[in-house]
Structure formats: structure tokens, C-alpha cells
């Protein structure tokens, strides 16, 4: 069995005295879509941000493609091939769609490749093409999510970390987005997706981890997780929240 693309071993991290992530170990293999499930406050976002370098880990190791990336600044982690699509989209509202996509490619120097990838992203998300010169802040929630995903794709990542891509979006848009997420491995992008919508996450992911109060409580294939009764106990309300 080949080495996992991403290996998180015994990682603890948080904000000052608050430990949001406690001794967490997960793995993501190349070509997989892995889901990270759990209720609000379970530490899922913090874990993604720790992997991406925005939050410092106080214990444990994170290895990506054989290299240790714990304590690397976010700029270097992006250049190593990990792109985080943050919770709440966080597009640059005062920049145009075009400039947002340009920012996604900020780490690249190949003008030709950037132009080709921009074309691809616009084909993937025709709405963005229509709104190419518009300010990102004027886009709808769904369009902003597409922009955030497109922006991450522009860096040609090997691994994409998606933090709650379905949050606050209409079901139809969510379906569109998750169709795209499911197709990412075919483009050579491995995915780790955080989702509160369990049913949705398990339709695109082949495996998953369940977190609660900062720790991994359960893991397994999607089929196994779907059957597990404990899931209901671990967090309250899923689809009904929207």
C-alpha cells in the first residue's frame, strides 16, 4: 500500500488555552475524497486550518507527500500543493472575479498555464464566466462558493481542503458543487472535505472520520459510517439545520 498523501499524526492545536484539536490522527490517500464529519465546534475547521498552516500545532506531525509540513507558513504549504477553501468562502469581495482567480494563481509564473486553467475553471463554472468582471462581493452565495473553489483550483493543488462547501447554499447549488467535488480526483486532485451535511458528504467520499470535541471518535468507509447508529448521538441535527 503506497504512503498516504497526507498523514496527520497525533496533532494538537487550538487558540491559546482552548485546544480545538486534540491528538488527532487521520490519513488521506492519493485520489481519494475523504470526509471529515462532526457537529459545530468539533474541531474540523481548526484541523483544516492547522494543516494549511494558519493555526500552529502544539504537538504531533503532519506529513504531505513525504515532507514534514508542520510549522510551515501557509504560503509554503500552498506551494507544496495543498489548497484550502476556507469556511464561509472568504472571496476577495472588492476584487473582481477575474482578479480573485488571478490571486489563486499567485504562486505560479507560467502565464500560458494560468490562462489555460482560467479557461477551464470558467468552463467548469459558466456563471463565473458571465460575471467575470464583476466584484466578487456582488455574487450570490453559491457563485461565491464556485469562485472560492475555482480560486483554489487555480493553484493546481494536489490536495484540496474544503471547509463546509455547502454551508448556507440552496440544495440545487449544493448538488452542482458536490458533483464537481466528486470529479476532482479525475483531475488529479485529492480531497479532504469538512461537512456537517453527513448524507451529502458520504455520497462523494469513499471514507470518513467523525470528530467530536476535538477528537476523532470514529472512522471507516462511507458504507460503514452510513450504517453507524452512533452518528446520531455524536452530533445534533444535520439536513434539518438548513
Amino acid at each position: 500500500m503506497a504512503e498516504p498523501l497526507l498523514k496527520v499524526e497525533g496533532v494538537t492545536s487550538g487558540y491559546g488555552a482552548i485546544l480545538a484539536v486534540r491528538d488527532v490522527s487521520i490519513e488521506v490517500n492519493t485520489g481519494e475524497v475523504v470526509a471529515l464529519l462532526g457537529a459545530n465546534g468539533a474541531g474540523k475547521s481548526t484541523l483544516l486550518m492547522t494543516i494549511a498552516g494558519l493555526v500552529n500545532s502544539t504537538a504531533g506531525h503532519i506529513t504531505f507527500a513525504g515532507k514534514k509540513i508542520d510549522h510551515m507558513p501557509p504560503e509554503r504549504i500552498l506551494r507544496a500543493g495543498i489548497a484550502l477553501t476556507p469556511e464561509g468562502r472568504r472571496v476577495f469581495a472588492h476584487l473582481s472575479v477575474a482578479d480573485n482567480l488571478r490571486m489563486g494563481a499567485a504562486s505560479r509564473r507560467d502565464a500560458g498555464g494560468i490562462a489555460a486553467d482560467t479557461e477551464e475553471v470558467l468552463e467548469l463554472f459558466p456563471r463565473l464566466s458571465e460575471r467575470y468582471r464583476q466584484l466578487a462581493g456582488t455574487l450570490s452565495g453559491g457563485e461565491q462558493q464556485m469562485l472560492a473553489l475555482g480560486r483554489s483550483l487555480m493553484s493546481r493543488p494536489k490536495l484540496m481542503l474544503l471547509d463546509e462547501p455547502s454551508l448556507g447554499l440552496a440544495p440545487r447549488i449544493v448538488a452542482q458543487i458536490f458533483d464537481m467535488v466528486q470529479a476532482l480526483p479525475q483531475r488529479g486532485v485529492t480531497v479532504l472535505v469538512v461537512e456537517q451535511n453527513v448524507r451529502l458528504a458520504l455520497t462523494v467520499a469513499s471514507r470518513g472520520y467523525v470528530m467530536a470535541t476535538g477528537e476523532v471518535q470514529a472512522s471507516g468507509s462511507s458504507a460503514e459510517l452510513r450504517k453507524a447508529v452512533d452518528l446520531e448521538k455524536v452530533y445534533l441535527g444535520t439536513d434539518s439545520r438548513r
Binding site: P73, L78, P86, R90, A93, H94, M103, S107, S155
Partner: protein, 295 residues
Amino acid sequence: MGSSELLQQFVNALSLGSTYALLALGLAMVFSVMGLVNFAYGELVAVTGYTMYLLVTRGVPWWIAMLCGIAAAVALSLLMERIAFRPLRNASFLTLLFSSFAVSVIIQNVFRATVSPRQKGVPSPEFLSEVVHLGPLTASWLTVITTAVAAASLATLVVFLRRSVAGVSMRAAAEDFDVTRLMGVKANGVIALAFAISGLLAGIAGVLWVARLGAVAPHMGFVPVLKAFIATVIGGLGSLQGAVFGGFVLAFIEITFHVILPSSLQPMVDPFALLIVGVILYFKPQGLLGGSGGM
């Protein structure tokens, strides 16, 4: 007051406003990316002046002294960032503010100790005081060149911020620094660039300032940074367009009082101008263009 006099004052206001706009923009550049109001910014203007003084009095041609002055401002700005502000990157706003005061005082004392505590004259090319007639208007070459240089600088900066990747990265960093880092943009690079541009603008404004004043003094940076600060606050702290707009608004307010007040009350121009600024802020605390922080 006749219409030609009115027009004349309008031109003066444009010239003054464009200098203030340049100054304000340089200050706003660093604030928008780092949240730091750099009170040592005035010293960038002063170091431009002192560099020019040292070179011109040694016979160096004015235009070379001018370019060296601008280079000195850029260098000092980058040095400040590296030595005084980078170690304090994550410190509180107040710590950064006090640090900038400290840098300001230190630099002023370097001027006092190495050159002179007193004012020193800086001769400018004679043609600058010559007058040129544009239709009904009369303006000195200095006024015309000031407006032209400031306008050209602003236009170039706008193109840079809109078109180049570095410029777009700066606008992105001003909006969301963390997400900009997530794009692979180096934090240190963006901040250094902001300080470099800040230094460049201060240098250009400094050349125009010294040409107008004709002299340098250790505390000469105080007025430029004060005007820059007031202008950015009027326009909306954090907004680059606001800084430029605020610069022109401040100039227009000052020229208006300069015209309205009788000669005996001329020293009251600044206090009255500040009074109006206070009124503006009372009704619009975010500044005239403030609230969005966009560029």
C-alpha cells in the same frame, strides 16, 4: 472676488491637494496592509529633504539629488519595516503606534546630531519660481509640475494596483491578509512592497515639499505626516481612494479659509480647517468614503 481669482485659487487647491493626496496615499498604503499608522512616515519626507540638502550643497545637479532623495526615502522605509516593525508583526495596534513614534524621534535626532539642529536652506532650480500663464491663470512652474507629477504618480499607482499581480496581491492583502497567504503570497513580500511604495510616494511628495519650502529642519516631517493622517481620516482610514479624496478635500478646505479669512486671521487657517474636519467626522465617523475599505 472675481471669477479669475476664484479659478486661480481652484488651481492652487488642486496643486496642494495633489501633494496631500500623494502623502495620504503613502500613509494609507501601509495602514491598509498592516493596520499600522506609521507616524515615522513624516521622517521619510524629511530624509528626502536632507539627502537633497547634502547633495545639492555639494554641487550635485538637482535632478540627481532629487532621485537620490527618493531612493533614500524608499530605503529608509524598507529599513524601518525590517528593523522596527517586522519584529512586532503580531503586536497590538498601540505597540506598533508607539514604536512608530519612537522611530520618528530617533530619526529626527539623527538629523539633529549629524547635520544641524537648525533649519538649512535647500536651493531649488530657479525656473521653478518662474511664472507661467495658462489663459487667465497664472501659476509658478513649481505648482504646475507638482500637480502633474502627483497626477502621474497616482495614475501609475492605480494601474499598478489594478493590473500587476503584485498590485492585485496588495489589494487582496489589504482585504484579507490570511487568505492572501493561503494563495501562496509571501506575507513579508507584500508588507515590504507596501513600505516600498509608501517610501516612494513620501519621496516624491518630499521633493515637491522641499522645493516649495526651500529648507529642511529636523522636525520638518511633522506637518506632512499630520496632513497625511488628517486626509486619510477624512477619506476613510483603510481606503486608498479615500486617502486621495481626503487629500483634495483637506486642501480645498484650507484654501477656502485662506481666501475667506482676512490677513490678520491667517494663522487661524489650520485651526478652522481642523474644525471643519471635526464636523465632517461628527457626521461621518467612518470618513467620507469609509466603511468599505475597498480600493
